[in-house]
């Protein structure tokens, strides 16, 4: 299939031990995560006070990574299309909702119900930036990162527009932890553009290929290994390359027989955008 090109103009990340993209670059290049128990998720300062207090983990996580990527891109948030992807949505909220439904369904909290919708972060982000452009929220099981990136690249290429991608998963909570692998939250955000604003934007050539991804997609780097049980861990092979820890190309499985093939031009030897 034909190869397309998009430009990466901003990168954001949040995990308890990786508060931003520069810290992540340093970790991947230095070979170890920063020591310590890690940070607490920052409150989404961009939301109005009442909503900030009530914002669930998924929204805080997604907004923090998005904030970093949009700032680094230099683009006004309201100009961006957006794609939010998550395998499991907000696990603490879904756990609490199902718990209440199993015991006293008439006591379901209206706020919790609203927060359980998969596009809660998408809606909150649109409000923060007064962005009226299209925003979507998708899921694709264990391949949610690759599909989110594909959807963002497809929108960027077909609509010739900058697109914000936000990929996030909270830690599993309650009994669902038996079924959901994430043991810690992580969010990754990219601003992708069809025409780059900045000279330091990274060109990303992409195509969908039939067949299994080529090696070396498996995670070998010690930092990636340490993050392997975080949400959105499927993003790690691409992050390693973006951080300059190893050269590309990267093949992200979209399912067992389809691969999203990615090549950075030139390969990321310096840790930007935003890093």
């Amino acid at each position: 299939m034909a190869e397309h090109r998009a430009w990466i103009e901003g990168i954001g990340i949040w995990a308890p031990t990786l508060p931003d993209w520069p810290a992540a670059c340093m970790a991947w290049r230095g070979g170890a995560l920063p020591p310590g128990p890690g940070a607490r998720l920052p409150a989404p300062g961009e939301l109005p006070p009442a909503e900030r207090r009530r914002a669930p983990a998924s929204v805080a996580l997604a907004l923090e990574a998005a904030r970093q990527a949009v700032t680094a891109s230099g683009r006004p948030g309201h100009e961006l299309l957006s794609v939010f992807t998550s395998a499991h949505g907000d696990q603490p909220v879904i756990d609490q909702l199902c718990q209440t439904l199993a015991e006293q369904p008439l006591l379901v909290s209206p706020t919790r119900f609203i927060h359980s919708i998969h596009n809660a972060a998408s809606g909150a982000w649109s409000q923060v930036h007064a962005c009226h452009r299209g925003s979507t929220a998708i899921s694709a099981g264990e391949h949610s990162f690759a599909h989110g990136l594909l959807e963002a690249l497809v929108q960027c290429t077909s609509q010739r527009s900058p697109v914000l991608l936000v990929a996030f998963d909270t830690a599993a909570a309650g009994p669902l932890a038996q079924l959901v692998p994430a043991r810690a939250p992580m969010a990754v955000a990219l601003v992708l553009a069809a025409e780059p604003l900045q000279t330091e934007a990274l060109a990303l050539d992409w195509q969908v290929d039939a067949g299994r991804p080529a090696p070396p997609t498996p995670v070998h780097h010690p930092v990636s290994a340490a993050l392997a049980e975080h949400g959105m861990a499927a993003a790690l092979p691409l992050l390693e390359v973006l951080a300059g820890a190893r050269p590309g190309p990267v093949g992200l499985p979209l399912d067992p027989r389809l691969t999203l093939s990615l090549r950075l031009q030139p390969s990321a030897s310096t840790c930007h955008p935003g890093g």
Binding site: A2, H4, A87, H88, G89, I94, L97, C98, Q99, L101, A102, E103, Q104, P105, L106, V108, P110, F113, I114, S116, I117, H118, N119, A120, S122, G123, S126, Q127, H129, C131, H132, R133, G134, S135, T136, A137, I138, S139, A140, G141, H147, L150, E151, V154, Q155, T157, S158, Q159, R160, S161, P175, L176, Q178, L179, V180, V208, A210, L254, D255, L258
Partner: protein, 411 residues
């Protein structure tokens, strides 16, 4: 800057909802104004009887008490039974098989919209746990108790191998799935896309909407002076979208965000109007060209007011405008595919639905809501879908506009 869709058309469609399985049931109910709403009773929706009763009406699909055939047993839950029921209708599966044979499974994509997918199964697991039963575990369970479960299941049933995505944007989910599908075809990432969605009745949505005080205690009355909120409904539907012009063509689409509130529409309908404008621009049409608009029309006081204001502001007097929520209930993530089924039926037969259950239309809406079905020539039909999170989507369906191709070039 509106994007120009590549010509794509629906070559097969099927739906199931409270008015019955298949397009024939939909066509008959549309002509006669038959409603499928019924009082919410004590029959279980999953493995357990309801813990509390809600005084409301629902658009319940009958025939979902039978488990899936043995081959599909690991996928068994209400939402997949609903999807399975829909897949049996209208020769849809055979049409997909023909396309798979023509292009190969890897070139047939799947984009499904759902707001809650199989969460009813998760609710059952929590109820079971409270009664001392073990919580599910293992690989198969990981797939079933997931938002992507519906797409995973339908992909397996249809034998598809292309790009497979779940769109979950509340009540615009299956409408936005068509936008995603058109983009995949435009970039040649697929030769055909199965588009649709399914949402089934479950405790989350019944008690969640109840907590928001949006559930009507009587059959819902869209745009009625005495409207009191929604009736929840369930539906599944699938369409086969292929490249090229055709009699059931996706002429344009628009997607926008209110950027206003998580659960209330923008008071001036700003996002909804932007989605409409985008859809019209991408189709190269004026609002006057729309013969039929399938309104979102949920019957909540605020949603109907905002949508009726948009109708009065932008649509021509000749446009037949109706909501079908009084027939099917509000089917949430499936509303877009169900609305599309009504639009395509109108294009094929000229029959457009009335706004069933509504007897005393709100005088503020200027008599613009069609209460009874009507038959006339329908060339362009619009499908509205708006949802929580401030998400908006408008789809424009019509016959191959080959005769106006020169005009489209100027758009």
């Amino acid at each position: 800057m509106p994007s120009t869709p590549t010509p794509t058309h629906v070559s097969a469609i099927t739906v199931t909802s409270a008015i019955g399985p298949g397009m024939r049931a939909l066509a008959e109910a549309m002509k006669t104004g038959r409603s499928g709403l019924q009082p919410l009773d004590e029959r279980p929706l999953g493995q357990h009887p309801p813990l509390a009763r809600l005084p409301t009406w629902v658009g319940r699909v009958e025939g979902l008490d039978t488990p899936l055939p043995p081959t599909w047993q690991p996928w068994d839950c209400r939402n997949h039974r609903l999807a399975w029921q829909a897949l049996q209708g209208d020769g849809f599966t055979a049409a997909v098989q023909a396309v798979v044979e023509r292009h190969g499974p890897g070139r047939v994509a799947l984009v499904l919209g759902t707001s809650t997918s199989s969460i009813g199964a998760t609710e059952d697991a929590y109820r079971g746990l409270a009664q001392g039963e073990p919580f599910p575990s293992g690989k198969a369970a990981t797939r079933l108790y997931s938002l992507h479960a519906l797409a995973h299941f339908v992909r397996a049933v249809l034998g598809l191998g292309g790009v497979t995505q779940t769109v979950s944007t509340a009540c615009t989910s299956s409408a936005k799935a068509f936008c995603t599908a058109e983009r995949l075809l435009r970039l040649d990432l697929a030769d055909a896309v199965v588009v649709g969605g399914a949402d089934s009745l479950c405790a989350s949505v019944l008690f969640g909407f109840h907590a928001l005080q949006l559930v009507s205690p009587e059959p819902c009355r869209p745009f009625d002076r005495r409207r009191q909120g929604i009736n929840l409904g369930e539906a599944a539907g699938f369409a086969l979208l292929e490249r090229g012009p055709g009699p059931l063509q996706l002429l344009g689409w628009g997607e926008s965000s209110d950027a206003h509130h998580m659960s209330a529409p923008h008071p001036q309908g700003l996002g909804a109007e932007q989605a409409l404008d985008q859809a019209l621009a991408s189709a190269g049409l004026d609002a006057d060209a729309i013969d039929f608009v399938h309104l979102h029309g949920t019957a909540t006081p605020q949603n109907d007011e905002v949508e009726a204001a948009l109708l009065l502001r932008r649509f021509s007097q000749h446009t037949h405008a109706a909501s079908t929520k009084g027939m099917t209930g509000h089917t949430l993530g499936a509303a877009g595919i169900l609305g599309t089924a009504f639009c395509l039926q109108a294009l094929q037969t000229g029959w457009m639905p009335g706004t069933v259950q509504t007897t005393d239309p709100d005088p503020a809406f200027g008599g613009r809501i069609a209460l009874t079905p009507r038959q006339t020539e329908v060339r362009v039909a619009a499908c509205h879908a708006f949802g929580f999170g401030g998400t908006n989507c408008v789809l424009l369906w019509g016959r191959d506009p080959a005769g106006t191709a020169e005009d489209a070039d100027h758009g």
